[in-house]
C-alpha cells in the first residue's frame, strides 16, 4: 500500500481498528471451530491490544495519527473553556493582525522594491550639510543645470535620471470648465528605457523627447490613471490635454504595475523634464536625481566624482551671491553628496512616516507579546490543573516528546484561529490606516498587495507566537514527575515563579506602550493647541487661477465682488495660504550691511488680508491700495528681533538681497504679530509681507496669474458658502476660476495628520495593552488564591485578619508589577530617543509623562487584584479544611 493509503488510514483510524479487531476475532473463532478451548485459544493469541496497535502503526503514519488524536483532544480542551479560549484567541488575533498590518505598511512604503528591472542598482542623490544646531541634515532637491554636467561625467558608469517632485495640478481635456486634478511628474525621457519598462499602449517617452527646453509637449499616462479616468480606452492615444497654457499630446500608457518612484503617490501623467519652466534656472531646485549604477561599478569613486562636479557647480553659482560674506558662502558650499539606496523608491511620505511606522510596529509587537504572556500564563495554569492527567500519561508510558506535542497542538489551535482572525483584521486595518494618512481630498495611495511576502511574515509570526506562549508550558507539563504529581504534592512555587516573571514582563511592556502613547497624545495636544497667531475659524481659502495673468485691478474687482456676497464678512487676497506647505525666502540687508545669514520668509498680501486672518496690527498701518512691491513692507515681531534688535522697525528701511547682487528697497509701514508660516511644528519665523501690486523697473504694474482669496464668513459653517463663492468668482470676471477651496481649519489640521494618526493608534493600543495586562494580572492572582486556599484557610483559622490575607496574596505579584514598571521605565528612557524627532515639546522625562503610565498601571493593578482579594478574604476556613 502506498503512502497515500497510509495517510487515508489516518483519517479512518477507527475503522482500521475495527477491521483489525475483526480479523483477530475471526482467527479465534476459527481456532474454536477447530475444536480448541476458547480460553486457551485466547491465551495463545497473545496481548490483542498491543498487537492491534502494532498492526495499526504498520498500516498508517503513526506520528500523523497521534497528531490527529492530539488535535481532537486539544480541540475538546479548548471547547471546555469556551470563554477563556475565545478571549485568548481574540487577544492574540488583535496582536497578530496589528503586527501583520504594520508589516504591510512598512513593507509597502519602505521595503518593497519598485517594479523596474534591477531595482537594487538604484540610488538617490542627496546632499548633507551641517544644520543650525550642528546636526547633519540631508536634502535631495536639485536644479536641472547642475544635473546636466553630473550626468555627462558619469556616463558609462551610471545613468542619471531627473525626476521632479510630483504635484497635483489642474488638467483640462476639453473646455476650462471641466478642469480636473491629476498628479503630474516631470521625468527624464530616458527614464522608462533605463527602468526596462514596456508601454501598455502607444509608446513611452524616450531620450529624443527630452532635448530642448519647451520643445517636447508629450505626455505618458500611468496605467492606473488610464484605467480609472479613461476605462483603458486605446483611443486616448493622440488626444491632447492642457495644463496651464501648455497643450500636451498623449503618446502612450505606462506598464501596469509602475506608479512612479514615489511610494504613497500614484502618478497620473508623466511629462519630459524639458517642459518644466525652471529647466534652465540654476537657483530653482525642483527635482530629485536618481542614479542607476551599471553592474560592477564601485559606489565610493562614483560618489566622489559626482561630489566634485556638484561642488564646482555650486561654487560657480556662489560667486553671484550678492552681499554674502566669504565665510557664509564657504559654509553654504560645504555640502557632501550622498548616494542613498533607492530600490524602494524615494518619497516624502517615506521620510515623514519612517520613524512613525517603525514606532507603531514596535508598539503593536509589544501588545502581541503581552497577549502571548497572557496566554502562556493561562496555559500554565491549565497545565497545573492537568498535572495528574499528565502524570498518568507518563506512568502508562507516554514519552516526553509526546506530552510536549499534546500541549503544543493545543497552542497550535489557538494560534491557528488567532492567525485567521488576525489576517482578516490586517486585511482591513492596513488600508484604513493609509486612508487616514492624508487629508480626505488628497489621500495617500499605497499599494498593499497581500502576496507571499505578507503571507510569509504572517506564517512566521504565527509559528513564533505559538512557540512563544506554548513551548514553556509544554516543556513544563512534559517534565512532570508522576510520583509527586499523583500524590498531589508537586512544587507549586516553580510554576508560580514563571507566572510572576511573565507578570513583570507584561507590566514592563505595558508601561512602555503607555509611555509612548502618552507622548504621542501629548504631542498632538500641544501641536493642536499651540499659538498660531491667526484665527482659522470661519475662514475659506479660494485658490484662484486665471487663463492668462490678469491686471491687479481685476483681482481687486473680484475681491470687491466677493465682499458683496451675503454671509461674507471680510475678504483678503494673498499669493498663498498660510501653512499650505509652500515657502518663499530670501536674505535681507539693514543699513547696507551684509546679510546676517538669517532667512526672512515672504508673502504677498492685499490691504485687509491681515484683518481677515485676524493677525493683530501692533504698530504702523495696514497696506493701502496704492502700496507697491518694491516699496512698502509689513513685518512681524520675530523680524524685528532678528534684524532690528527688537526695536520697533516701523518707518525704517531694509533691502532684500537677490542672488546676482540685485537689491530691492522696502520701508516697514507696519508691525504685526507672529504667525506660523509653513510648518506648524517650527518656531515663529522672521517674516515680511509685501503688497500684491508689483511694479517693474519702469513703474508699470505686473499682471498676476494666481492668488488665494481669504474669505471670513459670518456664519459658523464656512463650507456652506463654498459652492456659492466658487460660482461668484467667474461671475465677477470670466477669466478667473477657483481651482481649490479649503477651509483654513482643514489646512491647519492637515499639518497634524501624522500626529493625530499616531495619537489615535497609540492610544488604542495603549488601552488594549492595559486591558490585556489587567486581565493577565487578574488571572494570575485568581489562580494563586485558588492554589493557596488551604494555606489561607489555615491562617484564617489561626486568627489571621482580612488585611493580612490580602497582603499575603498580593505581595509577590505587586512586587513583580513594581519590578516590571521600573524595567519599563528603563526601557522607555533608553528607547524614546529614537522617536524624539516626531515628538513636539514633550520629553519622556517630564514628570507628567511618567506619572500617567505609573498611575494608570497602579489603578489597573488594584482593580484587577480586587476580585482575587475578595475571594481570598471570603474563604470559609471550616468548609475548605473539611473539604480537603
Amino acid at each position: 500500500m502506498s503512502l497515500w493509503s497510509r495517510i487515508v488510514n489516518v483519517l479512518r483510524g477507527d475503522r482500521l481498528s475495527r477491521e483489525i479487531e475483526e480479523e483477530f476475532q475471526s482467527h479465534i473463532d476459527e481456532a474454536i471451530e477447530q475444536g480448541r478451548d476458547p480460553a486457551e485459544a485466547r491465551r495463545a493469541f497473545g496481548p490483542a491490544l498491543r498487537l492491534r496497535e502494532e498492526s495499526r502503526d504498520v498500516r498508517l503514519i503513526a506520528w500523523l495519527d497521534s497528531l490527529r488524536a492530539d488535535a481532537i483532544f486539544g480541540w475538546r480542551q479548548l471547547m471546555k473553556n469556551k470563554v477563556i479560549s475565545a478571549a485568548a484567541v481574540l487577544s492574540l488575533a488583535l496582536g497578530i493582525g496589528a503586527c501583520t498590518g504594520a508589516f504591510r505598511l512598512v513593507d509597502a512604503l519602505l521595503l518593497r522594491p519598485l517594479p523596474v528591472s534591477e531595482p537594487e542598482q538604484l540610488y538617490a542623490l542627496a546632499r548633507q550639510y551641517i544644520g543650525a544646531e550642528g546636526k547633519p541634515q540631508t536634502y535631495d532637491s536639485w536644479a536641472y543645470p547642475s544635473f546636466r554636467p553630473m550626468r555627462d561625467a558619469v556616463k558609462g558608469q551610471a545613468e542619471l535620471m531627473a525626476i521632479s517632485y510630483s504635484d497635483r495640478t489642474d488638467v483640462a481635456y476639453g473646455s476650462d470648465a471641466e478642469m480636473e486634478k491629476a498628479y503630474r511628474q516631470y521625468v527624464s525621457g530616458w527614464m522608462f528605457n533605463s527602468f526596462g519598462l514596456r508601454p501598455a499602449a502607444g509608446r513611452l517617452l524616450t531620450e529624443g523627447d527630452d532635448l530642448k527646453p519647451g520643445a517636447h509637449p508629450y505626455a505618458v499616462l500611468s496605467y492606473d490613471y488610464w484605467t480609472s479616468r479613461f476605462g483603458r480606452d486605446p483611443k486616448v492615444i493622440g488626444r491632447t490635454l492642457r495644463i496651464g497654457n501648455d497643450l500636451y499630446e498623449i503618446v502612450g500608457v505606462g506598464p501596469e504595475r509602475f506608479t512612479g518612484t514615489e511610494p504613497g503617490t500614484v502618478i497620473d501623467i508623466f511629462i519630459p523634464t524639458m517642459m518644466h519652466p525652471a529647466v534652465q534656472i540654476p537657483d530653482w531646485t525642483w527635482m530629485r536625481t536618481l542614479a542607476r549604477l551599471k553592474p560592477g561599478v564601485a559606489l565610493e569613486p562614483l560618489r566622489a566624482k559626482l561630489d566634485a562636479i556638484s561642488r564646482a557647480f555650486e561654487a560657480e553659482r556662489g560667486k553671484s551671491f550678492g552681499g554674502m560674506s566669504k565665510q557664509q558662502i564657504d559654509e553654504f558650499l560645504n555640502q557632501k553628496l550622498l548616494l542613498e539606496p533607492a530600490a524602494a523608491g524615494v518619497s516624502d511620505l517615506q521620510n515623514d512616516y519612517r520613524t512613525s511606522l517603525v514606532a507603531l510596529g514596535v508598539l503593536v509587537a509589544l501588545v502581541l507579546l503581552i497577549a502571548c504572556a497572557n496566554v502562556a500564563n493561562l496555559m500554565t495554569a491549565q497545565a497545573a490543573s492537568r498535572a495528574r492527567e499528565m502524570a498518568l500519561r507518563v506512568s502508562i508510558g507516554a514519552g516526553r516528546w509526546r506530552l510536549v506535542q499534546l500541549v503544543l497542538v493545543e497552542s497550535a489551535w489557538l494560534a491557528f484561529f488567532a492567525a485567521a482572525i488576525g489576517g482578516v483584521f490586517a486585511w482591513w486595518a492596513a488600508p484604513a490606516v493609509v486612508s487616514m494618512i492624508n487629508p480626505p481630498h488628497n489621500p495617500a495611495r499605497l499599494f498593499l498587495p497581500a502576496d507571499w511576502r505578507v503571507l510569509g511574515f504572517g506564517l512566521v509570526l504565527t509559528v513564533g507566537v505559538m512557540l512563544l506562549f506554548g513551548l514553556a508550558p509544554a516543556l513544563r507539563a512534559s517534565a512532570v514527575k508522576p510520583v509527586s504529581a499523583l500524590k498531589g504534592g508537586e512544587d507549586p512555587q516553580s510554576r508560580r515563579r514563571l507566572m510572576h516573571g511573565l507578570v513583570a514582563v507584561q507590566t514592563a511592556f505595558c508601561f512602555l506602550v503607555l509611555l509612548v502613547a502618552g507622548l504621542f497624545v501629548a504631542t498632538f495636544e500641544r501641536l493642536s493647541n499651540r499659538p498660531i497667531g491667526f484665527s482659522p475659524e470661519r475662514v475659506l481659502t479660494l485658490e484662484t487661477v486665471t487663463v492668462s495673468p490678469q491686471p491687479p485691478a481685476f483681482w481687486d474687482q473680484v475681491a470687491e465682488h466677493l465682499r458683496t456676497v451675503p454671509g461674507v464678512e471680510t475678504v483678503g487676497l494673498a499669493s498663498s495660504v498660510l501653512l499650505g506647505g509652500w515657502s518663499w525666502n530670501n536674505f535681507i540687508s539693514v543699513n547696507g550691511a551684509p546679510p546676517n545669514g538669517v532667512l526672512v520668509y515672504l508673502l504677498k498680501a492685499s490691504p485687509g488680508w491681515a484683518e481677515a486672518m485676524r493677525i493683530p496690527l501692533i504698530d504702523g498701518r495696514d497696506f493701502l491700495p496704492d502700496d507697491t512691491y518694491p516699496g512698502a513692507a509689513i513685518v512681524n515681531r520675530t523680524f524685528a528681533k532678528a534684524y532690528f534688535n527688537g526695536e520697533d522697525p516701523v518707518r525704517k528701511p531694509f533691502e532684500v538681497v537677490f542672488s546676482g547682487g540685485k537689491r530691492l528697497r522696502f520701508e516697514c509701514v507696519g508691525l504685526v504679530g507672529d504667525v506660523t508660516y509653513r510648518d506648524i511644528r517650527a518656531p515663529f519665523l522672521p517674516q515680511a509681507y509685501f503688497p500684491l501690486h508689483s511694479i517693474d523697473a519702469k513703474g508699470a504694474l505686473q499682471p498676476i496669474g494666481q492668488g488665494t482669496f481669504i474669505v471670513r464668513t459670518s456664519g459658523a459653517n464656512p463650507v456652506a458658502l463654498a459652492s456659492i463663492l466658487r460660482r461668484e468668482v467667474p461671475r465677477a470676471r470670466s477669466e478667473f476660476r477657483v481651482s481649490n477651496i479649503r477651509t483654513q481649519t482643514e489646512i491647519n489640521q492637515s499639518q497634524t495628520v501624522r500626529e493625530r494618526l499616531l495619537a489615535r493608534l497609540a492610544l488604542f493600543f495603549g488601552v488594549v495593552a492595559l486591558l490585556l495586562a489587567g486581565v493577565g494580572l487578574y488571572g494570575v492572582l485568581d489562580y494563586s488564591v485558588l492554589q493557596r486556599r488551604r494555606e489561607i484557610a489555615i491562617r484564617m483559622a489561626l486568627g489571621a485578619q482580612a488585611g493580612d490575607v490580602a497582603q499575603r496574596v498580593t505581595a509577590d505579584v505587586f512586587s513583580m508589577v513594581l519590578v516590571g514598571a521600573l524595567a519599563g521605565l528603563a526601557l522607555g528612557m533608553g528607547s524614546v530617543r529614537y522617536i524624539a524627532a516626531i515628538l513636539y515639546q514633550v520629553k519622556p522625562t517630564d514628570p507628567a509623562m511618567l506619572a500617567l503610565p505609573s498611575l494608570t498601571i497602579l489603578a489597573a493593578a488594584l482593580l484587577s487584584a480586587l476580585p482575587a482579594i475578595i475571594r481570598a478574604v471570603r474563604i470559609d476556613p471550616a468548609t475548605v479544611l473539611r473539604g480537603e
Binding site: M1, R6, I20, E22, E23, F24, S26, H27, D29, E30, A31, Q34, A44, F45, G46, P47, A48, L51, E54, S55, V58, R59
Partner: protein, 109 residues
Amino acid sequence: MPKPDSLQGSLDLLVLKILSRRPRLHGYAIMSAIQARSGEVLRVEEGSLYPALHRMEEAGWIRAEWVTKDNGRRARLYEVTAAGGKQLAAEESRWLAVTAAVNRVLRTV
C-alpha cells in the same frame, strides 16, 4: 529490512512460501499450514502473525481481501503478489546460503 537470520525473516519466508503454494488463505490457515508442514516443529506465536502479515501487505508482497464465509462471518484471505514472488525467491536463496554456511561450520569444527 528484516535480517535474513532473524525469526522475523524466516517467518516472512515461511508465509510467502505457504501462500505461493496455496493462494487465498486466512491467518489461521497459514499458521496451521506452517505447523503441519514443519511436522509440528515450528510453532508461530499466533498473535504475532498478524502484524507480520500487515507489514508484508504494506510492503506490497501480499494482498488481502475480505470474504464472507458460509457461516456468515467474514475472513481476510491473503495471496502473494508479483513483488512477493520475487521477494520469496530472494529470501529463499538467502536462507539456503545462510543454512549452507551454518552447516559448513557445523561440519568442519
